[in-house]
Symmetry: C2
Subunit: 257 residues, 2 copies
Amino acid sequence: MTERTQTLLTVGQVADRLDVTVRTLHHYDEIGLVQPSERSRAGYRLYTDGDLTRLQHVVVYRRLGFALEEIALLLDHPESVEQHLRRQRAAVQQRLDEISDLVTAIDRALERAMNDEQATTEDLKELFGDGFEDAHAEAEQRWGDSDAWQESQRRTKSYTKADWAAVKAESDALHRGFTDAMDAGEPPTSVAAMDAAEAHRRNINERFYDCSPQFHRNLADMYTSDPRFTATYDEIRPGMALYVRDAIYANADRQEQ
Amino acid sequence: MTERTQTLLTVGQVADRLDVTVRTLHHYDEIGLVQPSERSRAGYRLYTDGDLTRLQHVVVYRRLGFALEEIALLLDHPESVEQHLRRQRAAVQQRLDEISDLVTAIDRALERAMNDEQATTEDLKELFGDGFEDAHAEAEQRWGDSDAWQESQRRTKSYTKADWAAVKAESDALHRGFTDAMDAGEPPTSVAAMDAAEAHRRNINERFYDCSPQFHRNLADMYTSDPRFTATYDEIRPGMALYVRDAIYANADRQEQ
DNA sequence: CTTGACCCTCACGCGGCGTGAGGCGGCACA
DNA sequence: TGTGCCGCCTCACGCCGCGTGAGGGTCAAG
């Protein structure tokens, strides 16, 4: 018969042709996936056309996302290729879905990050007036070491302008809770006033830090002892600072039972 | 200030809540990504709410496909989140494209596998007549050890029904090459006959095995010495087997110069 | 005979955990 | 007061698909 003059290729040449690395060829050899049919006397791997064909198949299947072990199965049992392809298609389709979900998730995250980017000091001034910065600095002085302050800082750091707007709105609503009770002639010990106080406490819990009824009393004291807080409240309604303090105390007593 | 009564959670509890494994928590602790703020006297990891929050962020970013190292950066530099998100979106989008390419690639592969599944013996009978099986078996007997036969087997194993149909069509065309020359009164040594022989040789090269002009002579001998081959050819045109043999010899002589 | 481009064989590294092994701690129930 | 059992701890190796050297041989050209 004829002596087939095969073209035998070394690793480097094969690597170039099939666009894989030499290390990859070594690896496939090691695990027995594609072993060169021949070796030169010096031990060089020599790949025949047949080896190349097999390798080409491996490369294709790899691109289709098959694991090397599976590829070995496929090459040795060509009859099961179709089944495998179906399964693979399903798996890849699932990954596709996951990733496209992922893209929309990232998009949503981006949207949030863009629309609601961290509130700037400007934003806060706009919402709460010029005094905000000073008040904040002083509060830091006075309460910076406390757990409550630190937790508050941690939480509010990530507040967006929208969040702060909500805080402002909630704050206004809480004030209305008190003024409504006042205007209706209810005493600070009335249920309406206590409910307003409780809403206030819960809002602090929600937005800033854990505020127990006991701690709420401390706040209440501050509203009457610190003239700036007093002024802020009394500007809304004369006597409101005192009213709020008493309501908070009444509520704290109620809550503790 | 108030004693915040934190709810401290052990690894197992955290794992359940955030749907990660305990090992994952250990890992994050090891690499310093999320370290529990506290430990019990016995060394149990105890996670605070703050730890949980951080962990929650990690879990989200992981789902978005970030590497742990990147996540550490993101958590420590929240201002760069948007940039990262953009980059990540681009990367994920690219993967999405790749994978959807992959799906269509698999689909094409599936289509091929379905439409062109390996030709069955039935198909071959249909194309080449009932004698095919016997002829094949005998050929195996006679030539099974030869390189040419083995290479032929290797190649034709993956031939589809469509391939075999093409082989049949090519074969018919080659026969016509010879009969046309015969009908035109050209001798087997004519250029037309030699060209037909050369086309025949090249077709074998293409479809079955390396067929040198020298080896082609062996085939030619077989066409006249084996009555079944003779019959096959002579059925097309009386004297064709001989004509073909001579044309092949003439062509082989021409090719060798 | 040298040079430089290849080739070889170890053998470790990476990312993100999985999966034991071997040994305490904590809590319920007897 | 034991006794189970579950959960926690700390090593430490394994996995996949190679990347990346180190340390040394081979081969063709000049």
